[in-house]
């Protein structure tokens, strides 16, 4: 099974599929190459000489740093898409919304209390899944009516975690 990453370097876009044994870029197989990543220092053997780069994160922005130059970088992985679906999975509306778990996971932290007013996209809780803390945000403005989970609870995909009104 392949993991998919969509990479945008400056204005160039690439689809990268990677499995344990194979790498495909824009549909073409690319055989294994010498790639080293230590700390955030990356080095890849491109023919005779190696190329070094660093992926720099500055707040929400990603930059590729190579040869002293910066290139804007955008990375979207399967996981990101899953998270996106997760946030669409929450049933929104002007009044009354249910926040469900988009994937099985562990409730790490609950940021709201019953009776609390929340705005759309306010953080509601953190669900740990896929070795990452994933923030679940409110799909709508509202008031927290019910919290159906406790911190440290495991939740199944689709189970209701918070109800708004």
């Amino acid at each position: 099974m392949f993991d998919r990453s969509n990479i945008k370097i400056g204005k160039h876009e690439y689809e990268v599929l990677h499995s344990e044994s194979q790498l495909k870029v824009n549909g073409k197989d690319v055989p294994e190459k010498d790639f080293v990543l230590i700390k955030r220092m990356a080095r890849i053997n491109l023919g005779d000489r190696y190329k070094s780069f660093v992926v720099n994160r500055n707040g929400d922005d990603l930059w590729l740093l190579m040869n002293g130059r910066e290139y804007p970088l955008v990375i979207e992985t399967d996981r990101d898409r899953l998270l996106k679906v997760a946030s669409q999975n929450t049933e929104g509306g002007s009044s009354g919304a249910t926040i469900r778990a988009a994937m099985p996971g562990l409730v790490v932290r609950i940021a709201v209390k019953v009776g609390q007013t929340v705005k759309r996209s306010d953080p509601v809780l953190i669900l740990e899944a896929m070795k990452m803390e994933n923030e679940v945000r409110s799909p709508a403005d509202g008031v927290v009516k019910e919290i159906k989970v406790n911190e440290r609870d495991s939740v199944d995909k689709g189970s209701v975690m918070v109800v708004l009104e």
């Binding site: 990543l37 990356a42 780069f53 992926v55 500055n58 929400d60 740093l65 990375i75």
Partner: protein, 504 residues
Amino acid sequence: MKSVLIANRGEIAVRVARTCREMGIRTVAVYSDVDKNSLHVLEADQTVALGGSTPAESYLDQAKIIDAAKRTGADAIHPGYGFLSENAGFAERVEKSGLIWIGPPASAITKMGSKTEARALMIDAKVPVVPGTRGAVSNAQEAIEFAKKAGFPVLLKAAAGGGGKGMRVVRNEADLEAALGAAQREAKSAFGDDAVYVEKYLEEPKHIEVQIFADKHGNAIYLGERECSMQRRHQKIIEEAPSAAVSPELRKSMGETAVMAAKACGYANAGTCEFLLDKTGAYYFLEMNTRLQVEHPVTELVTGLDLVRLQIEVARGNKLPIKQEDVKLRGHAVEVRVYAEDVLGGFLPSTGKLSLWRPPSGPGLREDTGMYEGSEISRFYDPMISKLIAFGENREAAIDRMLRALSEYFIAGVMTNIGFCKFVLERDEFRSGNFDTGTIERILLPAYREYVENCEVQPDWLAAAIALANRQYYTDVTFFKRSMADVQSGWKTAGRAAALNNHG
């Protein structure tokens, strides 16, 4: 001399402190508010906060600095380069306060510090100088008169200047008035003195400078030359010792001229005579820098000497420990000034935090820096990250070593001139030694722009590598770094991670 206050910041403050420590001398650092987490603060034995963030409020405030020296019991002041290093008034004030000034006598600074006075002195001493105005011009009309007589282009220069500040090339009359105003404003802000004079602008000369040293007993020697023609916007980027264009005979001639110049103004301590060298081998006195130079390490590597140690010995009143015949040059040294800047965006400074910083090391390599991983490149000061100096048995080996070193340098958080310097070091223009002070802007910068635009980076590989790097970033627990801000709010973290990946 048991204790030295270092009236500077950044790499030169660290560099001076290092030699002081080696000599058993206590050091006092001063620092502005912006610099409170700077390396020069960590490396000193004692520190004094000057407050403020602009140079005027801190490193240029003479009273604050002398007061700091008094309060900490320092008995000498080392000014580094820039800031107050060539301010004769300050040198005098230091000595009047009963402190030792680690630099030349105020009288020599005055004579040489005013470029106009220095020119007059050199003319009297039969040292060839570039044609120019007798002194500073008081208005645009004076400048225009000289320029018409000598012919355009002309060069406007701050009388108190250095480091390219307050300097402008003017190629026609129409631009002169505006350029003069700009140069005067820059000079005022950088040196507290808006005096600007005008010289004939020599096309395609080499900038060669000679390091001299004099003691207070009338002894003076030269320590060979430095090749400083690789400049952008009048600021040196790559320096070498020796120069590929200087023969042993020329070295001796320029060296002896430089010593004559030093003796003519009653010089003591470290100084540098800057010359323009034309293609016929003729050279012209340009100015004398009455302080340590940024690029002094290349001289240290080829002579085996420590110039700051010599400065301190001479300031103590000791005789120079070596004679001219003891100065033996060996090998070749190249210095690259690594700047946080956007080269193709007009060399504009790139501010930010050095979120990753892995400097090169190993054989034949020296790094002088005031930075560490996590340091801020602020908008208040020169965006120099470090000076990298490579030594080799000969020029080729030193340049190849520098290229190797630059290829090891990992920096994240700011843009740097490293890619550009690598490009320059590989080009024939540089390798041949046949370059002048205009080569970068005339040839190398346009060539670099073209190279970058047409660069074939095998983007498929790069994309694949980035995808793998990104995956490793989220699975490898070893090296992930976050700030305390994230610890305090788990929400911010998670939000950031999600946002990060939703970016596409």
